[in-house]
């Protein structure tokens, strides 16, 4: 029997010990009217060979189109060692390190993960991961409301240039606690600083900005951070870890630095994988660590005075504090955090910087080639990192459909979330989209535009 080791002799002997004559007897506390007849709709079992063939054929049917979509998920090269090591059974099939002495491997990896994220963001302490970038942002908002004792506000001022799905997820997760997001509008593809100035003196628990923004642009984060602090709000930074290899980290924003940084760790060695599993991260200043949600690993000493690692500050968490916990989170994304840690260890600061610079250079090349086509132009003059907006002279949807038929995923159509930008397309080229890929995209785009002209 697949995955069941029992022989007939075992079963007979075990039933005898339990004083029953069949497995069915063991379910005799389930009232008869509740019994199911069976699971006919599930169908017969497939062998390992059969399911392998089925999954391979489905995967092949989906193919591997040439992808220039970013929008929160990025196609970086993942070194072979990352998942070879992360899927070792000792990592893959362990659980939450509640028995610290038998979980030092996982615990030390998480301590290293925390250290690397704190280093990248320039802040003091990190937790052991959250589900993804969107929920990390929502948890950052909740944390800011708890941590900001000077403010009575249950509103967060959020840049419209922050990922629209992150804002949607946060809205869902904050609604029940009466916390709401107020939008800081766009001006020329970045936060509108005049609108911000007009809000001076208003009470917000926090101000949240994404750098680089969802539109790829670099925001004036110093002014935004200083505005937050001048108005009694905490500053929340949503950041891309690849970009942090080259961009000034949240801990150095403005006069005092951001208070909380969060984001999506997927760029750190995690495949795009249709949306997950990814790994959210949350990093903050030491002073507010006790408001942090989720698991945190600390280094301590054992009975012999030797260093070791353990889950700590657990009085914040649901299994201790129940209805008064900082969050309901229990399981997080441990294995993905493990992969991200291995990725960061392999690349180091120098490798990550090379990735970041290549992404930036490739995206500039992409923008330059596409904008050379008549009918396409870059609408903004702000510097961007590895994503940029292009203005088309026609609706984006049909253009993307035509590209898709040629095996090119041409970018993210912004018209649903940013109608004020008109026919706007968000494109991205990571280090894995070299000159040849970019020329292929530009050629396809040229055909689409030529054909439609």
């Amino acid at each position: 029997m697949p995955f069941i080791p029992h022989t007939d002799a075992d079963v007979a002997a075990m039933l005898a010990v339990t004083g029953t004559s069949s497995c069915a007897d063991l379910f005799d506390e389930i009232p008869a009217p509740l019994r199911m007849a069976g699971l006919q709709a599930i169908g017969p079992a497939l062998s390992e060979a059969e399911i392998s063939r089925l999954m391979q054929s489905r995967a092949r049917a989906d193919g591997e189109p040439l992808c220039f979509i970013g929008a929160g998920a990025y196609d970086h090269y993942v070194p072979a060692a990352v998942w070879d090591i992360a899927t070792r059974g000792e990592f893959y099939s362990a659980y939450t390190p509640y028995q610290a002495e038998a979980s030092q491997g996982t615990l030390q990896v998480i301590y290293e993960f925390q250290t690397m994220l704190a280093g990248l963001t320039g802040l003091d302490v990190s937790n052991a991961s959250l589900y993804d970038g969107a929920t990390a942002f929502a948890e950052a908002c909740l944390m800011a409301v708890r941590a900001n004792r000077r403010s009575k506000s249950r509103r967060i001022l959020v840049a419209r240039s922050l990922h629209p799905y992150y804002r949607e997820v946060a809205t869902v997760m904050l609604r029940g606690q009466g916390i709401s997001l107020q939008e800081l509008p766009l001006q020329d593809g970045c936060c509108d600083h005049a609108a911000l100035a007009a809000l001076s003196g208003k009470d917000f628990a926090a101000v949240a900005v994404q750098q680089p923004s969802f539109l790829g642009n670099l925001e004036q984060v110093d002014a935004l951070t200083d505005w937050a602090h001048a108005n009694g709000a905490l500053a929340i930074a949503v950041v891309n870890p690849t970009a942090l290899a080259v961009l000034r980290p949240p801990g150095q924003w403005g006069a005092e630095g951001a208070d909380i940084a969060c984001g999506e760790g997927q760029p750190l060695g995690v495949p795009m994988s249709a949306g997950g599993p990814y790994v959210g991260f949350l990093v903050c200043r030491q002073a507010i660590v006790r408001q942090m949600p989720g698991r945190i690993v600390g280094r301590t000493l054992d009975l012999d005075g030797n260093p070791g690692f353990t889950l700590t500050l657990q009085a914040r968490e649901q299994h201790i504090r129940r209805s008064r916990a900082t969050s309901n989170i229990c399981t997080n994304q441990g294995l993905v955090a493990t992969a991200a840690t291995i990725y960061m260890a392999l690349l180091g600061a120098a490798g990550l910087r090379e990735v970041a610079q290549s992404c930036h250079a490739n995206t500039r090349e992409l923008v330059s080639q596409l904008a050379a086509l008549p009918g396409i132009s870059p609408p903004f003059t702000q510097p961007y990192f590895h994503e940029a907006v292009l203005q088309l002279d026609r609706p984006v949807g049909p253009v993307l459909d035509a590209l898709s038929r040629q095996g090119v995923l041409g970018g993210f159509d912004l018209s649903q979330h940013y109608p004020e930008l008109g026919n706007a397309l968000l494109v991205c080229a990571t280090e894995t989209r070299g000159s040849e890929d970019i020329r292929a995209y530009a050629a396809s785009m040229g055909e689409v535009f030529g054909a439609a002209a």
Binding site: T18, L39, A81, T115, L120, L247, G348, H360, E431
Partner: protein
């Protein structure tokens, strides 16, 4: 055995992996970082060796029996991992058009349907990324349902006192008040107390069945009738679905909404603390409120249901569609089980638990609920041993590590003093269970012979018992480079 921190492998200029640089950036200086982020400088071999060594410091299912109650630490078949990591699945962008993902979407649609079948629900959304997020989705849907009916005074969520901590924490996150109902000495809910607390403020009740006490709640139909009559809805926490798979279903028991921990019942790996998946299923009442996106079949094609087709949805819980890779693993596992295999899961999970319980009772261990059948897990209380020898459940847990077994869940549920919550799962052989009994018997013997020796355990792990007080009072949460 210990392993130094990765940061100790320092050699300026060393780099484990060199991406091909295709150019340098031309970003304005005002945006640029001046300092070097303190990441490791290690060779590829250093990194491989370091993390391989760290892995060897772990207990895991692949290396040890791991009878952690309420966590369902069953074998994670390797083929599930291999097939979820097919290159086309890994390369799929979450916002890629559906034309380039019909194979993937069909797989997700079939998974939704299989989960509907096993839970007895009418519709499923796969987006919640862990059990606690499934709970959040469930309670948020219950609130949305009441609000849509203009019934917005319903702000109370009832939970049994034995509930998993995520239940009350979830209710709070959703802005609800928590009302606890006690458990009777026989392990079932105190139904008179339940009757006394339901009313016009009741939004719903969150239950696990079998409960966290390892017994099947026999009055479940009566509970459902009471809560429904009061206008509330029933939420099923799927943590213990392994015990009833194919025998009964939350739908048959009267539940309105359920989450399933795919990382428990459907064998996706726990990964040292995630990723999980907490897919939610609902009956017809809650269908309009399901979190988006989920897959629907339109004509011959599979497409996403989103905010346009589901205007009453509670909304998104993840940037994209949840933990797709986890969902693929669960799908492979479920197809390999088939109908008969699912029945076997609960048959053998429950057989193993009842066998282990009977063996321990024969050896003189005190069961928390000796008059009851075990579900897929059961509780023993070491209270008498603690009273006699001072050796606690925690000491037993640590001593088990020296015997080569991961400890059961300790001190949960909080109702039973000095308890071990033991869940063997269907994966384990009779021989393993017998060896586990022998270990517990040996530890008890040692407790009476030399209690101090047990209190010293573990002695064979990479570290001895850790100072948790120091960890919390002097938090050392990141490594800092020593001052030069």
């Amino acid at each position: 055995m210990n392993e130094q921190l990765i940061f100790a492998y320092r050699s300026a200029g060393r780099q484990g992996f060199a991406p091909r640089a295709s150019g340098t950036g031309e970003l304005p200086a005002e945006f640029l970082r001046q300092d070097e982020p303190p990441l490791p400088t290690a060779s590829e071999l250093d990194v491989v060796r370091h993390y391989t060594r760290l892995s060897q410091l772990n207990f895991s299912i692949d290396t040890h029996f791991y009878p952690l109650g309420s966590c369902t630490m069953k074998y994670n078949p390797r083929v599930c991992n291999r097939l979820a990591m097919l290159p086309q699945f890994l390369a799929r962008h979450p916002l890629a058009p559906v034309e380039h993902g019909q194979g993937f979407l069909q797989t997700m649609h079939e998974l939704q349907e299989m989960l509907q079948t096993v839970t007895g629900m009418q519709a499923v959304s796969l987006t919640p990324m862990a059990g606690a997020q499934g709970e959040f989705a469930g309670v948020a849907m219950i609130k949305a349902y009441h609000d849509a009916r203009g019934d917005s005074e319903r702000t109370q969520i009832i939970v049994p006192d034995a509930a998993h901590g995520t239940n009350p924490a979830t209710a709070t996150m959703c802005g609800c008040d928590v009302v606890e109902v006690p458990t009777r000495p026989d392990g079932d809910l105190d139904i008179d107390k339940l009757r006394a607390v339901v009313g016009p403020q009741t939004a719903g009740i969150m239950l696990t069945n079998p409960s966290t006490l390892g017994v099947f709640e026999r009055q479940i139909s009566e509970i459902a009738a009471i809560v429904h009559a009061a206008g509330g809805l029933l939420y099923y926490d799927g943590a213990n679905l392994n015990a009833i798979l194919g025998k009964t279903s939350p739908g048959a028991m009267g539940f309105d909404v359920v989450h399933v921990n795919l990382h428990k019942t459907f064998s996706t790996p726990h990964g040292g603390g995630g990723p999980g998946s907490g897919a939610v299923g609902v009956g017809d009442k809650l269908r309009p409120f399901l979190p988006i996106p989920y897959v629907v079949k339109q004509g011959g094609n599979y497409v996403w249901a989103d905010e346009h087709s589901c205007p009453q949805s509670i909304g998104r819980l993840s940037a994209f569609m949840g933990n797709a890779g986890v969902l693929l693993r669960a799908y492979v596992y479920m197809r390999m089980l088939g109908e008969a295999g699912m029945q076997r899961v609960s048959d053998f999970a429950v057989l193993n638990a009842n066998y282990l319980m009977a063996r321990l009772q024969d050896e003189g261990f005190a069961l928390a609920y000796p008059q009851r059948r075990a579900s897929h897990e059961f509780i023993i209380s070491l209270k008498q041993i603690t009273r006699d020898t001072g050796v606690t459940a925690m000491d037993f847990a640590k001593a088990l590590l020296d015997h080569g077994f991961h400890a059961p869940t300790t001190y949960f549920p909080l109702l039973v003093p000095e308890c071990l919550l033991i869940e063997p799962t269907e994966s384990e052989s009779r021989q393993t269970l017998d060896a586990f009994v022998a270990a517990l018997v040996a530890i008890r013997q040692q407790a009476y012979d030399d209690a101090d020796a047990v209190k010293q355990a573990p002695l064979t792990m990479p570290v001895r018992r850790l100072d948790d007080v120091r960890a919390a009072k002097q938090p050392d949460l990141i490594w800092k480079q020593p001052a030069a």
